[in-house]
Symmetry: C2
Subunit: 241 residues, 2 copies
DNA sequence: ATCACCATACTAGTCGGCTAGTTATTCATG
DNA sequence: CATGAATAACTAGCCGACTAGTATGGTGAT
């Protein structure tokens, strides 16, 4: 059974940095590379050279280096002393751990949101759901993923645990890489939207048990395409570890 | 009612780096500063200067800078562009969020460990408990905290979710700062040891419900001294946020 | 005495260059 | 042709110097 998944082959090529943009160059470089890694423009296992990146971005090695240090702390790249820097391969064990962590925490958040969320928070969630409906209709996967992030974050905020999301964000990034890899394969955004509606519905109905149950189901299905992806592009995966 | 808590007053003073020690200087500097922050040798709110640290450690600014960047990613320091670097104050909201996150995840880990942990893992836990008993008897608080870390980590490893602990570690650090602050005030290590024994006992007895319940109780009590600390040394705390 | 302003002394940000260590290539030798 | 040693071409680590931005302290005018 052949897979429709197509592995991107084009080598990464960065355009120069906008010299007018504000903020420290190091942070801007970090955001650029971060996005490229999560969206798999820079592919898992790809070698990165401080020199090349600096030249391509039109800056010195220093800010590039700082960006890579930050990304290595987030687990998106690995710096091998005196040898080189590579985009971290996707580890199945890590992805599974990420899911476990998200299930544990976000179920608790959903449960608490069902008890505590105020009207403003619920209004915000409803608004995000509406936007998601639009992006599903227009088949704008990237927009949907951004709104997905916003909704999960909104649930955390609704319980007053916005700081929790800061930690979950890094964890979610790892899973998002998998989602971007499976995007050409048509992630079932319609189904995800249904589940989001169910979660928010349960929160609005003040039903903690239901909110937790639906959230658990929702998060369980997230890495469903992982085995297929692993078979289709084994080079992108860190065999076990 | 006066508190027996005594705020450390001595200014930080670092000795030079061992020039013989191996590994990149930046990473060694990071570990040094990290430990000083967690043990409150460098106090919350204290200003750090890249120049001063570099001079004290006998290295250039570069590795110091990289260490501070890493620590800022971990939330232990804040770098204010063109203004300075400060040791992050303890935020009550963040500490509470850290506890919430740990409760959510570690209860799930304890539950799973009660189902899955193999004999070797349980032996390891028992061994750590024995060491903890020694450190309690000798009133060696620092050793107890290290063993505490090892035990919680062992529970994560026992379920095959060692990667989860990588994330929890950063979160735990924030809480450990509070624990080190309250150490002169005699943390009730004996009580913590009892709870550890109960958790491991439940895991060994293959009782998931009990394991989760005991773990939840254990983690609930962790920040119990926080209000008192906040009253005794308000300068170390970030009022709300 | 008060306030505006300016020189000064900091801060982190960035740069180019050099170094030590690793890997790939080349070339001499069997 | 195969093999191994010298070499060339990389890598990230580290340094000193300079820059742009920020706070501070003092000076002068009012």
């Amino acid at each position: 059974m052949p897979s429709q998944i197509i592995a991107p082959e084009a080598k990464t090529s960065l355009t120069g940095l906008d010299p007018e943009a504000p903020g420290p160059v190091g942070l801007r470089v970090r955001r650029i590379i971060e996005e490229r890694i999560i969206t798999n423009v820079m592919r898992p296992g790809e070698r990165l050279s401080e020199n090349d990146l600096a030249a391509q971005l039109g800056v010195s090695r220093q800010p590039v280096r700082e960006a890579l240090i930050r990304l290595s702390e987030a687990g998106l790249v690995q710096v091998l002393p005196q040898r080189g820097t590579v985009v971290t391969k996707i580890s199945v064990a890590r992805a599974e751990s990420a899911r476990f962590l998200r299930v544990s925490v976000e179920c608790a958040l959903a449960r608490e949101a069902a008890s505590r969320a105020d009207a403003a928070a619920i209004t915000r969630m409803r608004s995000l759901i509406a936007d998601q409906r639009t992006s599903v209709r227009e088949a704008d996967h990237a927009a949907f993923l951004a709104l997905d992030d916003a909704l999960h974050r909104a649930i955390a905020s609704a319980t007053g645990h916005e700081d929790v999301w800061r930690t979950l964000h890094n964890v979610k990034q790892q899973m998002d890489r998998v989602r971007y890899l499976s995007m050409p394969d048509a992630t079932p955004t319609a189904r995800l939207l249904e589940q989001h509606e169910a979660v928010v519905g349960a929160i609005e109905a003040r039903d903690p048990d239901e909110a937790e149950a639906v959230m658990r189901l929702h998060l369980s299905e997230l890495l469903i395409s992982l085995p297929r992806l692993m078979a289709a592009m084994p080079d992108y995966f860190d065999q076990d570890r």
